[in-house]
């Protein structure tokens, strides 16, 4: 996800410093960006000169101190609260007091991240959706003590990146990952009650509802294990609220090791078409 955010920022004309813990990771990210731009140039969606200029705006580094001159930091590290708190704690000492810290977390508390710094009013959520260069939405999340000025600056930045920002209060799952829970939860219940089989449920939801993809096809694509983990996280965050209760079918699929497309089998069988 970090690579997509770097691409979006650099293409919008910002100078970007990319930090990662290993040179190999940075190398891979830059290679991937070059190939993306090469493809865009090939399709005529980007001129060679623009591609070159955009890549020149990006500097890669494994030294956190190189982030010191940045006015805005967007973190897309793995989803571990300890890791993020540690990272922002260090950045707090390195960066200008006016610098805004944004986290791309989809599930962790912005308030908890802000509390690890001396500037919780300048810590904000900036949740992009995958793939970041294509999807327009950015959830701008206000932690307990995030200031209105920080929210407005983040909303303005998201707009400059060509995104559609929505303002969200720091609550588990924010908007999308929370409001979407019943799409999976009710579908799993309908399956569990033998109301219809997987293919019929998907057909109804796609043809009657106009959803691009039915819930079972979508869970297979996301990964049943990932979807189950998000469900459990929201369920735990709301202290066992019945609306977010996971379903035993999810657990059974994870136990079986058939968690969707990436394993060749999930609610549907992809082994034939993958041959």
């Amino acid at each position: 996800m970090g690579g997509g955010i770097v691409q979006v920022c650099a293409q919008a004309g910002y100078r970007v410093v990319v930090y990662d813990v290993q040179d190999a990771f940075l190398q891979r990210a830059m290679d991937s960006l070059r190939s993306t731009f090469g493809m865009l140039v090939g399709k005529g969606k980007l001129t060679a000169a623009d591609s070159e200029a955009t890549l020149e705006r990006i500097v890669a580094s494994t030294d956190l101190a190189d982030l010191a001159p940045c006015q805005f930091v967007i973190e897309a590290a793995p989803e571990s609260i300890e890791l993020k708190r540690d990272l922002f704690g260090k950045l707090d000492a390195l960066c200008d007091p006016a610098t805004i810290f944004a986290s791309n977390t989809s599930s962790l508390s912005i308030t908890a991240i802000g509390a690890a710094t001396s500037r919780p009013e300048q810590v904000v959520g900036m949740h992009f959706f995958n793939p970041a260069p294509l999807l327009k939405l950015v959830e701008v999340v206000a932690g307990q003590y995030t200031s209105a000025a920080t929210i407005e600056a983040t909303v303005a930045l998201a707009r400059k990146l060509g995104k559609t920002p929505v303002r969200v209060k720091d609550t588990p799952g924010f908007i999308v990952n929370r409001v979407a829970r019943p799409f999976y939860g009710e579908s799993l219940r309908l399956l569990g009650e033998q109301t219809a089989d997987v293919a019929t449920l998907d057909r109804i939801i796609e043809q009657e509802g106009g959803f691009r993809m039915g819930p079972f096809r979508l869970m297979d694509l996301i990964g049943i294990d990932i979807n189950f983990a998000v469900t459990q996280s929201v369920f735990a965050s709301y202290f066992g609220e019945a609306r977010y209760r996971p379903h035993p079918i999810q657990q059974r699929m994870v136990e079986a090791g058939t968690v969707g497309r990436k394993t060749g089998r999930g609610f549907y069988d992809y082994r034939e078409e993958d041959k």
Partner: protein
């Protein structure tokens, strides 16, 4: 084309109800409709559905000869401004005057087909159906058979889907919706079928988020459309379906299952109490005035 006795709620809601959608679609497809609007004791002020040409009648006025020529009855009570249960029970009770051979298609967005059939004298003639609004947007309607239908006609769903006998009323329902340009899918009997239940739950969750101040109604809808590719935002969708219908769906799911996950959000309950029904009366999560 069929001659259909339509039992519809006696309220004019500017066409923004599923009953109005279905009456318009059936009429456009060339069916002959005898629109029967029962007198509902709880709602003496209610106006009849405005349709053209006006063929609105009370069952006593329809006449035995015309009743005998009816191919099937279509009962469209999915809710009511002052308690849908009494209205639905009342109309299904009155429809007992129909000949026992006449099939009945019952709208099951706020109950199961089995419950609807339990209020009807010729219960084995019932086929339930469920779908969301707006009707012109959808390509498919769900059909549900009540438990009262003879067991050889009952088709269990899920893993055990097999053709174990053909129900002629089911075939009639398939043909009717085909004439309106819709596909059908049979599902096991339950409250509100598949999609009306899922959309009601999405709308309920979005209402909780709104009540808790997580975001504005506009931002919640925008987020679901752009971030999760939903065809409509859950709150604008609830306005189209009708907040009273969404509320009644949740209420019925909670009543049948006893499961706390279906309890309607207090804000939704209060909006319905305040008479905010959505697009139908131009006030819901959004203002349409």
């Amino acid at each position: 084309m069929s001659r259909i006795l339509v039992a519809a709620p006696p309220v004019d809601l500017a066409g923004e109800t599923l009953a109005a959608d279905l009456i318009a679609a059936a009429r456009a497809a060339g069916h002959e409709l005898i629109v029967y609007a029962p007198v509902v004791a709880s709602d003496p002020e209610a106006q009849p559905v405005k349709i053209s040409p006006p063929t609105y009648a009370y069952l006593d006025d329809v006449g035995d000869d015309r009743l005998a020529g009816v191919d099937f009855a279509l009962e469209l009570f999915d809710s009511g401004p002052r308690g849908w249960r009494e209205e639905k029970m009342g109309v299904l009770h009155e429809l007992a005057a129909l000949p026992a051979s006449v099939p009945l298609l019952s709208l099951c967005n706020t109950c199961s087909a089995t419950e609807a059939a339990s209020y009807y004298a010729h219960s084995a003639q019932v086929v339930g159906f469920a779908c969301v609004r707006p009707f012109e947007r959808i390509k498919l309607v769900e059909l549900l058979l009540p438990l009262q239908v003879r067991s050889t006609d009952y088709r269990p769903q899920g893993g055990a889907t097999t053709e174990v006998g053909v129900n002629p009323n089911l075939q009639m329902a398939v043909a009717f919706f085909q004439s309106l340009g819709k596909e059908t899918a049979q599902v096991g009997d339950c409250v509100a079928g598949v999609l009306p239940r899922i959309v009601a739950m999405l709308a309920n969750e979005a209402t909780y988020a709104l009540q808790e101040g997580v975001a504005t109604a506009e931002d919640i809808d925008t987020a679901m459309k752009l971030g999760a590719n939903y065809p409509l935002g859950p709150l604008e969708w609830a306005d189209l379906i009708g907040l009273d219908v969404v509320h009644a769906t949740l209420w019925a799911l909670q009543a049948e299952s006893g499961d706390d996950r279906y309890r309607p959000c207090a804000l939704l309950t209060r909006m319905v109490a305040a008479g905010l029904r959505g697009k139908a009366n131009r006030r819901g999560f959004y203002d349409y005035t």
